[in-house]
Symmetry: C2
Subunit: 417 residues, 2 copies
């Protein structure tokens, strides 16, 4: 087969492709007789195949030049696969424990082959809906965020390295534009793509569109998203981009990666945990009222931020090369503490702002979350969403008043009562 | 001569070069007999030749691969000429009234030929030292800043255009690094390049290095300079980068241009006007106490900001294409006023922060300004500088408390008394 030209794969073409690609056929020990191929892409954008052979396995992900869940009417550059592979390798180099290994990238085919995350790995979001506790989740994800964000920022890099990498990732503009539209714009205006649990939340959706203060704050966050090249962020770090088992946490799908504000990643993760929290009442039944599980989610939110902060500061204290805070200037312990406290407080506020924006768009925007969608009873689902939306609006507008994550958890509990 | 390879010009080679370059020889009507060539580069970085012929004239500027005022020991990419020519053309297209026309750019020779700004054009800084009023200065420079900053920002562009241009200007990283060092770093640490009016300001220079709050705030400004791609800024818009007559204002030398924070340009200009203000007492003599001129400078500071703000908002209200504030979302007059007020207040704070940082570095850093340097009496100069430094520290640390430019002018008057 001609490997120099793009064509969408199917099961049969995929086998041909593997046979023609030594990096992949060798992973299978060149045995193709009892291959199992399963298409499992349940995301919004791409096709994903699991390839299982007698001697080995891997996953193949192919980007098509449109958005899968909408169709060819919403084109989307397949060059996103390049930025995904590039970021998997970069973040994987910085944090190999929590990023799957890339075996092969084909720029013409927009195709990535990577480590197959075997069962019992499942998408974290599904685990949260099922009420499963992951005791190492906060430890792992905070490690991933601290390492990838710190080590792609000016706290670690020279400005020469930084501007070069920033320039490269400017090329991922189409994916950024998708975020700009669905996170920062559509929920705040009439849009054909918006939907919500109607008629229960009709007033709430309208209130979002009419809330001047909310729209003022969202504008600031959108500008920061578009202008501020703080670190190489994942760009879509919700609970559907994380696969977990009891003792493994793997971050996948960084096709939205670019140099943006760190708070967008941390906020995406924490915001989606908050959504999971508010969805629990909809999953409660006579066997399990989910009260203990809600406590675990709150503890995980608190631990994620606090562990992230500790790890991030530790990396900062160990690093000598970053150019944002030169050691000769920020030399005294009390000054170092001062700048680090300010940095982390600002980052918490960015995190709450972006996290809240991501929550809002999942309730009144185009793409919803299974946490809520899987609640069959419309009235019950609407009640869960109403509370989450109320909290999100408060977080977005008052984010600068929060001094610590425990105050955020207190605010969540307040709304939950 | 071989035009494909870089070599530093002198008067004789320049004539050869002009003869071999139709775009230039035609400007002189192909008459080379009574050419006058004068090297006039008084800046820190480049060589500048005025070429006068019977039939025409132009200026030739060549970048050498080091910093002229320091020598080959401080190398500096000659590719800066590309970014200077690129920006002269871009800003010139947006505001032709206040940017000299580029006739010819030679990437191999790092050479720009542009309009000769004939006498009585002089460098604004020299006019300010001489005590000359320029009645149209605020009107003109505010027009230049409003048009160039607004029309290269996301208030006017799509994010697609923006990221493409941002990526290109990431290539001007070496010049950005020079600013990072001399503006945001060196003044706040012991550096071999730093100097000040010693011994008078020895304590003041040390106080700058020991001021934790000042260093905390400078770090935030440095990060904004390195991370925030708000608009295509000139990058060095002090009063030495502006040439003036009574009725003409021309902005030159944008070799530091990149996508950075708007406040860095506005602050550079206003900060240097404040330096000019504090230098006046050193230029006063029995004939002229400079009191009226000081009033004129203060009025020019106030007018510059207020006119800039009015013009910027006018452009904003006329523009439909910018993606930062979509019209469908920011549709109501009261919301539009709210976001514009917030934007301008934030921009004023950025302006004061960057302006103050630029003032500080001109008093205790490597490159000083002729406004002060031309005051012969050391004690008198030190007293002028001390007041300017005191105000700059206050502006930098308390910039968020200022609600209007008139409050800034009041603070200047307070220190001047």
């Amino acid at each position: 087969m001609d490997l120099t030209q793009f064509r969408p794969l199917d099961d049969k073409l995929l086998v041909e492709y593997i046979k023609a690609t030594p990096a992949l056929s060798s992973l299978l020990g060149n045995q193709f007789d009892d291959l199992t191929i399963k298409e499992v892409g349940d995301g919004n954008l791409n096709y994903v195949y699991i390839v299982l052979g007698a001697a080995g396995s891997f996953v193949v992900k192919q980007a098509l030049p449109y958005i899968r869940c909408i169709g060819e009417s919403w084109p989307m550059t397949k060059e996103r696969a390049y930025f995904e592979a590039r970021t998997l390798k970069e973040h994987g180099g910085l944090c190999p424990e929590h990023v799957p290994e890339v075996y092969h990238f084909d720029v013409n085919m927009s195709l990535i082959a990577m480590r197959y995350l075997k069962p019992p790995h499942i998408i974290l979001r599904k685990g949260l809906i099922a009420g499963i506790e992951y005791p190492l989740l906060a430890e792992h994800i905070s490690e991933y965020m601290a390492k990838t964000l710190f080590k792609t920022s000016l706290l670690y890099h020279s400005t020469t390295e930084h501007r070069k990498a920033v320039a490269e990732f400017c090329g991922n503009v189409e994916l950024c534009r998708l975020t700009e539209q669905v996170v920062f714009s559509d929920p705040y205006k009439i849009s054909e793509y918006n939907r919500w649990t109607s008629p229960y939340l009709d007033q709430e959706a309208e209130a979002v569109r009419e809330d001047n203060l909310l729209k003022l704050e969202v504008a600031e966050l959108k500008s920061m998203f578009c202008e501020r090249a703080q670190a190489l962020i994942h760009g879509d770090l919700h609970t559907g981009s994380v696969m977990v088992t009891n003792d493994s946490t793997q971050v996948i799908d960084p096709e939205f990666a670019f140099y943006g504000p760190m708070g967008f990643d941390i906020g995406a993760f924490i915001g989606n945990l908050i959504l999971a929290f508010f969805a629990q009442d909809g999953h409660a039944d006579q066997e399990n009222d989910r009260q203990l599980y809600k406590q675990w989610i709150l503890k995980t939110i608190e631990d994620t931020w606090n562990l992230f902060q500790n790890k991030f500061i530790k990396l900062w204290n160990e690093s000598k090369n970053g150019e944002a805070y030169l050691e000769e200037i920020y030399n005294k312990p009390e000054l170092r503490n001062l700048v680090q406290e300010k940095y982390m407080t600002d980052l918490l506020h960015d995190t709450l702002g972006f996290g809240a924006a991501k929550m809002i768009r999942r309730i009144v925007g185009v793409a919803h979350v299974e946490d809520f969608e899987s609640i069959q009873d419309n009235a019950k689902r609407a009640e869960c969403e109403r509370r989450a939306l109320g909290l999100a609006k408060e977080l977005l507008k008052k984010r600068r008043e929060f001094k610590s994550i425990s105050q955020v958890v207190a605010a969540i509990k307040e709304v939950a009562h």
